[in-house]
Amino acid sequence: MVAIGTTIRDASADIELIGVTKTYDAKNVVIPPLSVALRPGEFTVILGPSGCGKSTLLQMIAGLERVSGGKILICDREVQDLEPKHRGCAMVFQNYALYPHMTVAENMAYSLKVAGIPKAERNERVAGVAKMLGLSDLLARKPAQLSGGQRQRVAIGRAIIREPGVLLFDEPLSNLDAQLRHDMRVELADLHRRIGATSVFVTHDQVEAMTLADRILILNKGRVEQFDTPKAIYHHPASVFVAKFIGAPPMNILQVTGDGSVLRLPDGQAVANYSGKGSFQLGIRPEDISVNAGGSIKARIRYREDLGSHEILETEIGCQQLRIATPFGVEIDTTSVLSLTFPRGRLHLFDGETGRAIPEAFGTAATTQSMKEYQ
C-alpha cells in the first residue's frame, strides 16, 4: 500500500439528495422536501443557525437518522435504507466521540479491525495517518490524556484511515478555542486538497464556511436559501436571510418605500433611484458605505468600535440601525452628523415581503471588488 499522505486519490463520490424529507410528526417538519447535488471531490459547507436542520441532514446522509421520504444517492447508488457501514461515509463528530477505553492507535484502527483487515496492515495505515496528522508520538495514549486539538486530529485520523469516498464533518471545530480553530481550519483545507474525498461540513460559523467551502449550502428552517460559491453568496445574496447571515458585521438592511422614482427611508430621505413602487428592503454592506462631505444621506453616530485595522461606526438613520466599516487610516469626525454615499453598484434590493433578492435592480450588480477593498 502506498502511504496516503503523499498520494492524491480519486476515490471521491458524488452525493445526490432527491426530495429528502424529515418529519417527526405532522406538525414537526424538520426538513421539507430538499434536493441538492454535490459534485465528486467537492467541499460543501452546510451553513445555518442552530435548529435549521443542518445536522439532521448530515446524519441522514451518514445513515444515523432515517429519512422520512425521498432518496439519497451516493455514486448513483440508493443508500437511504442502508446501514451506515454500507454507505462508505466516514464522520467527524463535534465532541470527537473517541472511544475512551482505547488508545489513539486503537481508536484509529477500529474501523479497519471491524472490517477484518490484518493487524500488520492496520499498523502500517495507522502509522501513515498518524504521520500525516502529527500524532506519531501519541499513539499509545488514551483520549483523556490528549488536548482538544489532538483529540480532534485523532477523530479526523479515524475518519480518513478508511480512505472513504465521503467525509462528513458535524461542527468539528466548535469545541476548540479561537486560535486552534483557525489552525485546524487551515489544516482541514490542506487535508481536503490532499485526499480529495467529497466532503460535507456542517457549521454555524460563517468564517469556516467562507474559507473552507467550494460551495455553501445555506439552510433556513430546513429549506435551501442559497447554494453557491462563497463569493457569489457574499456578493449576490439570494435573500435577506443570507445577506444578514454572511459578513461580519452583517449587511445592513433598511426598510424603504418606492414611489416610482426613488426609494425613501421612513423619515423621508431619498437613498437611491428605483422605478419600482411599494415596500422594499435595501441592503448595503458596512464596508461599501462611503463617508464623505458631499454625501446626501445623513446619519447620527451612536457609538464607535475601534478594531485596529478598521472602525465600526454604529449609526442611526431614520430610526433604523446602520453599521459602517471605515477603511483603514480614514479619520472621521464623530461628533457631528455623518454624510454618507451609498454607491449604486453596491446596493442590494430585496422584496419587502418575501425577502427574496430582486436581481439587477440597480443595473450592474456588485462586483468582487468590494471584498478586496475591505480586506
Binding site: L64, K85, Y99, H101
Partner: protein, 290 residues
C-alpha cells in the same frame, strides 16, 4: 456549617445507635466468643484459645458448607449480574417503554427475602408449580424436596430474581450515560449492534459491572439465609446448607454458641478478604474516565 456543638451528634445518634447495637456489638461479641467455650443457656464461660477454631476447621461438615457457599456465590452472583445486564441492554436499545419498565422492574427490590422464598417454594413445587407439567411428562424429573441439585437450582433462581431490580437499574444507568455519539461513531466505523455491545458498551460500563459484582459476591453469601430458611431449610440431606445457614442451625438449634461464633468470625473474615481482593486486583484496572 453547624454552629451548635451537639446538634450534628444528635442528628446521627439514631443511626449510630442502630449500627452499634445491631452490628458492631454482635460482631465483637462473635469474635470474643470464638475464643471462649460458652455455656448454652448463659452463665460462665471458659477461655480456650484457638480450640474452637481447631474444632471447626477439622469438621468436614464445615468444609462442605463452605464449598456449597462458594459454588452458590459464583453461580448465583454471576447470573444475578448477567441476567439484569441482558435486560438492561435490551431496555437501552428500545427506549419506547423503558420509563414504565424501569419503574416496574425496580419494585421487587421492596420484597423481603422471606417473601420471595415463599413464592419460589410455591413456583418450584413439583406438584403444582411451573415444573409440574414437566413432571407429568418425565415423572420424578424435578423434585427439590428429594433432589439436592434441584433444591440448589431453586435457591439460585430465587436469588437471581431478587437481584434483578437493583442490578438492572445500576447497569441501565451506566448504559444510558454512554454518549450517543460514541454509538454513532461505532456504527459509522462499521460495528453492528452485537459488536458494539462488546467493543463499546461493556468496556464503558465497567465501573457499574464492578460495583454490581462486588455487591453481589458479598451479598449472595449472607442474604441467602432468608431463602434457605423459607424454601429448603438446608435440605434435602444438607445439600443446601450453606455456611450462613449452618451457623444459624449450630447456634440456635444445636446451642453450640462458641462453634457458631467461630464460624461467623471465619465467614466474616472471608467476606472482607473477598471484597478487599476485588478492590485491589480488579478495581485498579477499571478506567473511570469518560
Amino acid at each position: 456549617m453547624f454552629s451548635h456543638r451537639w446538634l450534628p451528634l444528635l442528628l446521627v445518634a439514631p443511626l449510630m445507635l442502630l449500627v452499634v447495637l445491631f452490628f458492631y456489638i454482635p460482631v465483637f461479641q462473635a469474635f470474643y466468643w470464638s475464643f471462649f467455650l460458652e455455656q448454652p443457656f448463659g452463665g460462665g464461660s471458659q477461655f480456650v484459645g484457638l480450640e474452637n477454631f481447631k474444632r471447626v476447621l477439622s469438621d468436614p461438615e464445615f468444609w462442605m458448607a463452605g464449598w456449597r457457599t462458594i459454588v452458590f456465590m459464583l453461580t448465583a452472583s454471576l447470573l444475578a449480574v448477567v441476567v439484569p445486564l441482558m435486560l438492561a441492554i435490551a431496555a437501552d436499545r428500545r427506549i419506547a417503554l423503558s420509563f414504565p419498565a424501569r419503574n416496574i422492574l425496580v419494585w421487587p427490590k421492596g420484597v423481603a427475602g422471606a417473601s420471595i422464598g415463599v413464592v419460589f417454594a410455591f413456583l418450584f413445587n413439583p406438584f403444582v408449580g411451573l415444573m409440574a407439567p414437566f413432571n407429568t411428562l418425565f415423572p420424578g424429573a424435578w423434585n427439590p424436596g428429594i433432589d439436592g441439585t434441584d433444591a440448589f437450582i431453586t435457591l439460585v433462581a430465587a436469588h437471581v430474581w431478587s437481584g434483578i431490580p437493583f442490578n438492572f437499574v445500576i447497569l441501565l444507568a451506566g448504559l444510558r450515560s454512554i454518549p450517543h455519539t460514541l454509538t454513532q461513531a461505532a456504527a459509522i466505523d462499521g460495528a453492528g449492534p452485537w459488536r458494539r455491545i462488546f467493543d463499546v458498551q461493556l468496556p464503558l460500563i465497567m465501573p457499574q459491572l464492578f460495583l454490581t459484582f462486588v455487591l453481589e459476591f458479598t451479598e449472595s453469601i449472607t442474604s441467602v439465609f432468608a431463602l434457605i430458611d423459607t424454601i429448603t431449610k438446608g435440605g434435602p440431606g444438607g445439600s443446601t446448607t450453606l455456611l450462613v445457614y449452618k451457623i444459624y442451625v449450630d447456634g440456635f438449634s444445636g446451642f453450640d454458641l462458641s462453634g457458631a461464633s467461630t464460624q461467623t468470625a471465619i465467614l466474616m473474615v472471608f467476606v472482607l478478604l473477598l471484597a478487599a481482593c476485588q478492590f485491589f486486583y480488579l478495581g485498579r484496572r477499571i478506567n473511570y474516565e469518560r
